[in-house]
């Protein structure tokens, strides 16, 4: 087997040149927290590794005309700390703060979180609720923008071609009228892979305080994170009160039941969904907890 080569592009042009050499056996490396483990398991070695960490500009987070653009190489630590993300996409910052450990958050990136397509990716659930798009560049230098739901196809499966790298996620920046939260249930309180996660984004009517817009995303309960549009419609126009909380919890439970019928984990997850929904709702009503509650 020919040896693995490594390319270390440092500019967008060099990245495109590198991608032009990619084959279906090529792997792109960002934080490496999933891929490097994989490389050291027995199996076919990639023909080419393209290290994205040196490409300038890919970790940039900027606000542009109402859109927040999050560079694909943004680390979870970066997302956790970035003032623009905290102001305009808080649920993503809250999700990032609950990924792995400090060491994993320092290395792991939002690009890798989506490209690796783990069903329990916390970043993907938050991005779903934020209506994020995915911008990629390929080996021909072509940029392409499409909704996240068109990129995530299933566990470990994406619509990304082998010569395509995610470069950023544009999303509509949340305003002062928006609230967004993220909640997660894992097998332990820290350094935990989600058994179930949820992101909730709402816009409150400035005068009446009712839920003018609702976006609900669930993850780790099916092949990919997904939205729950019927629940969103049901909640819109309602007040942020106990009745809505109950409706939200019931809706989350129903969504879990519909997503994994007959799965061994259903008896647990359908009830976990109720607790998770109340956690999320309480954060929404009382203000988000910015530090993990376990510490």
């Amino acid at each position: 087997m020919p040896p693995t080569r490594v390319l270390t592009p440092s500019t967008r042009d060099e990245l495109v040149e590198a991608l032009a050499q990619a084959t279906p056996r090529t792997r792109l490396v960002a934080g490496g927290t999933d891929l490097v483990r994989e490389l050291h398991r027995p199996g076919e070695a990639p023909d080419l590794l393209i290290d994205l960490t040196g490409v300038s500009g890919l970790a940039t987070i900027r606000l542009d005309d109402g859109s927040l653009h999050i560079g694909a190489l943004s680390t979870f630590t970066g997302l956790q700390e970035d003032p623009l993300v905290r102001r305009h996409a808080l649920c993503l910052s809250l999700a990032a703060a609950q990924v792995g450990s400090v060491q994993i958050r320092n290395a792991g990136t939002l690009g890798g979180n989506v490209a690796n397509a783990s069903p329990c990716a916390d970043g993907a659930t938050a991005l779903m609720a934020l209506d994020a798009d995915v911008v990629t560049v390929d080996g021909a230098g072509e940029e392409r923008r499409r909704p996240l739901r068109e990129v995530l196809l299933g566990p470990g499966r994406t619509a990304l071609r082998h010569d395509e790298a995610i470069i950023e996620y544009p999303l509509p920046a949340l305003s002062a009228d928006h609230r967004s939260v993220f909640a997660k249930v894992g097998s332990r309180t820290a350094v935990s892979v989600a058994r179930l996660n949820a992101a909730l984004v709402v816009r409150l009517d400035a005068t009446t305080g009712v839920l003018a817009e609702v976006r609900v995303a669930l993850g780790a309960v099916g092949g990919t994170a997904f939205r729950v549009p019927e629940l969103e419609r049901e909640l819109e126009g309602r007040a942020v009160d106990q009745g809505s909380a109950q409706l939200f919890a019931d809706g989350c439970m129903a969504a879990v039941q519909a997503s994994i019928p007959g799965r061994y984990s259903l008896p647990y997850k359908q009830h976990a969904a109720v607790g998770l929904a109340y956690d999320a709702w309480n954060m929404l009503a009382l203000g988000p907890v910015c530090e993990p509650a376990w510490a």
């Binding site: 927290t33 490097v36 050291h40 630590t77 450990s101 060491q103």
Partner: protein, 223 residues
Amino acid sequence: MQLVLTVNGTTYEVEARPTARLLDVLRDQLGLTGTKEGCAEGECGACTVIVDGRAVNSCVMLAVQARGKEILTVEGLARDGELDVLQRKFVEYGAVQCGFCTPGMLMSAKALLMRDPTPSEQDIRIALAGNLCRCTGYTAIVAAVKAASGQESTPQMALPGVPGELAAAAVTDPATLAVACETVESEAGRPLGAPCTPVDGGPTPAGEGSTTSGARSVSEGGE
């Protein structure tokens, strides 16, 4: 492939396999075996090093990704024969049991104190959440980090019959150290700090991307 790495302030030119992890290069090529391999999956934190001021798991980082960055390992903590305050407090507070997690614990704590010299206990617990101690000595470790940051901290456990300051002195006492080093060197059959050479039947570099036969030789240079 040729790599230039800066570890503990020294620049090394290393001939590394393209898929080598930072951990592999530190341990096998630079002989810096203070950094431990535990789970090899980024879960346990035994391999924690500091790269450009941030704690990372060197078992899930490719060596090539550390090019041009400042790497700090546990060997870089002590200065001029003086233990770092964190190391002293770990000794004083009995925060070391089997010791395998200790380098990783120290590096996570160091990264925290580099950013925040007076962290709260909650900050310390968050910083150490990715470092597993199977002896479950967490309480003493948290107390030691707190003490290292100059904050009041109650020792949970001390060496039996040995006051904390004395215990720390024993560790830094040259005579005691010399005896310990001789024992370790005679066990290992090589001088401490010498680069490892592959043993027969052991893992050998696959030689990917490299035509140099002496792929494991390390030269110090670049200063």
